[in-house]
């Protein structure tokens, strides 16, 4: 394929997180006039969930939406000649690529060529090197839990290579969110991957688009201070990217939400620490002087720059830490808070008995509606009309986690009056830790299927 150094290219977001609506990606491919559709599907939580699915079945562990992608999105992308770049391979990029390739053939999609990027799975290196974890400052082996997975955040390099080889669908695992956008921009403009200012700019574009609806009105409304007129029809964002270092963000016509200077400013700072040193696999980006301005037809962003990329890559290490048991009971009407507090005392007593049978690593008591989210920072009222007691406990022993959940449920049988509904669950706990791996220890590859 050509790497035509056109002055401008339109690049769209096709997914902002692991459960985003595929119909929005289809809409973007159909009406967005985008050349590339970049789909972020991974976060710390979603990657761990995918790893758990692969533990259950070694043939799975890729994004749960892949069937819908194959049947709804691939035909539209094939028809409109839109290239897709995604980390929906999650814990199993090879299986994801084979699945999409097979479905493309079955549907006779003649323009579709699938490429798989591998190399983010660094479990063998972590197993062999027992790295020091950022969270504990101690070697991995000192944790009691069992190592389940290790994935390095990889950058745009192999995306650029795959697009250069003619791939129209590029799928990998833990490709860093902004790199999904950096890859197509570098390919399209023929940029050098060590032009750090350009890489910083491309990373800014990726950062503004990667969270999807968070820049088109999601996670924003706070009436009456911040108002979004309607949420009926969402749109993912796209950007017209100029090779000179300016991007204009937009959303699809006839959609709701809002794309404004304010939403773009919020997104620029989202999950960034030092704006002068935003480390990705591609660059040490600098967003300190990024400007956001309203322009005709959208919102412009420019002013990003960057320095050389880091020599090490961040690794997400998944460690099996047992199970979380959770129980919830609700109370309503006069004295609801007192009854919830009584229920909490009852559960605390039962938990003491459970502790004699096994170890609870952590337990938490929340009164939802009162202090369940901001904890001690919440003002304590005299009463509340509705209160929901939630108790969560982590234990390496599934039976202990289950016993705590059941102790909460049992309040409805032997506890205060009017227990208005209850629920309980026991889920496996895969905890994310982080370490760093030298670039030289990573072996990335591209396979065209």
């Amino acid at each position: 394929m050509s790497t035509a150094q056109n002055k401008s290219v339109r690049i769209g977001c096709g997914s902002g997180y692991g459960d985003d609506l595929i119909e929005l990606a289809v809409d973007m491919a159909d009406r967005g006039q985008v050349e590339y559709l970049c789909m972020d599907a991974l976060a710390e939580r979603t990657l761990m969930l995918a790893q758990l699915r692969r533990v259950d079945n070694p043939d799975l562990g890729y994004d749960l939406r892949l069937e819908e992608v194959a049947h709804e999105l691939l035909p539209m992308a094939d028809k409109r000649k839109v290239k897709i770049v995604s980390n929906m391979g999650a814990a199993n990029p090879g299986a994801a690529g084979r699945y999409l390739s097979q479905k493309a053939k079955e549907q006779g999609l003649k323009n579709t060529r699938v490429a798989v990027i591998s190399g983010d799975n660094v479990r063998d290196w972590v197993d062999a090197n027992n790295p020091v974890l950022s969270e504990t400052g101690r070697p991995l082996s000192e944790l009691p839990g069992r190592l389940v997975s290790a994935n390095a955040y990889i950058g745009c390099e192999k995306i650029v290579e795959a697009l250069g080889l003619g791939a129209t669908v590029v799928i990998g695992g833990r490709i860093a969110d902004p790199s999904l956008f950096v890859g197509p921009l570098v390919h399209h403009f023929g940029w050098s991957q060590d032009n750090w200012a350009q890489m910083g700019f491309a990373t800014m574009v990726g950062h503004l688009l990667e969270c999807g609806c968070y820049v088109t009105g999601g996670n924003f409304a706070d009436p009456p201070y911040l108002v979004v007129p309607s949420f009926n029809r969402p749109s993912l964002p796209f950007a017209d990217v100029d090779a000179s270092g300016r991007a204009v963000l937009g959303k699809l016509p006839d959609t709701d939400g809002v794309l404004s200077v304010e939403t773009c400013k919020e997104q620029l700072g989202y999950e960034i620490h030092d704006p002068a040193n935003y480390l990705t696999p591609d660059v040490n980006a600098n967003f300190t002087d990024v400007k956001i301005q309203a322009v005709n037809g959208g919102v412009a962003a420019f002013g990003a720059t960057g320095l050389a990329r880091p020599d090490t890559l961040k690794v997400l290490v998944g460690v099996d830490e047992g199970f979380i048991g959770e129980g919830q009971v609700s109370f309503a009407g006069l004295g609801a808070l007192d009854r919830a507090l009584l229920a909490q005392d009852i559960v605390k007593n039962r938990v003491e008995a459970i502790r004699r049978k096994g170890t609870i690593d952590e337990i938490r008591y929340d009164l939802l509606g009162v202090n369940g989210i901001h904890g001690d920072m919440s003002p304590m009222p005299k009463d509340a009309y509705e209160v929901h007691l939630r108790v969560t406990a982590r234990s390496r022993d599934k039976k202990i986690a289950a016993a705590v959940a059941h102790a909460v449920e049992y309040v409805q049988i032997f506890g205060p009056s009017g227990t208005a509904g209850h629920r309980r669950s026991v889920k496996p706990q895969l905890t994310t830790y982080t370490c760093f791996i030298p670039r030289s220890a990573i072996k990335q590859s591209v396979e065209i299927l």
Binding site: E266, G269, H273, T288, T432
Partner: protein, 123 residues
Amino acid sequence: MSTSTVDAAAEGILLRQVAYARSGDKGDTSNVIVIPYDERNYEWLRQHLTVEFVRTLFDKVVKGPIIRYEFRGICGLNFVMQRALEGGVSRSLNLDAHGKSRSNLILGMRIKADPPPAGLRLP
């Protein structure tokens, strides 16, 4: 006019009247970016919304340091709080494991300042 000035002097100005915010997570680190509606109030925010002041609110949940970074271009103050999310999203037992509502928490802070900034949004 005079009534609201008296109120502001007594109780302080609600941060939500001056700025908006968004919070997110990376591991056990929480960040909250605070952005004034009117860029002319950036200096006022820089002066009053200090790390020490923010610490008074978050001290009960933030076990590590709080650092304030400046997004000069968009006039944003970014508070980065370490060991702030009870272990982080994969481990925290908090319903809001990402700490996404920390932005709403910070916007409830009241700043006592004389004179108050111009162009307050709503009471």
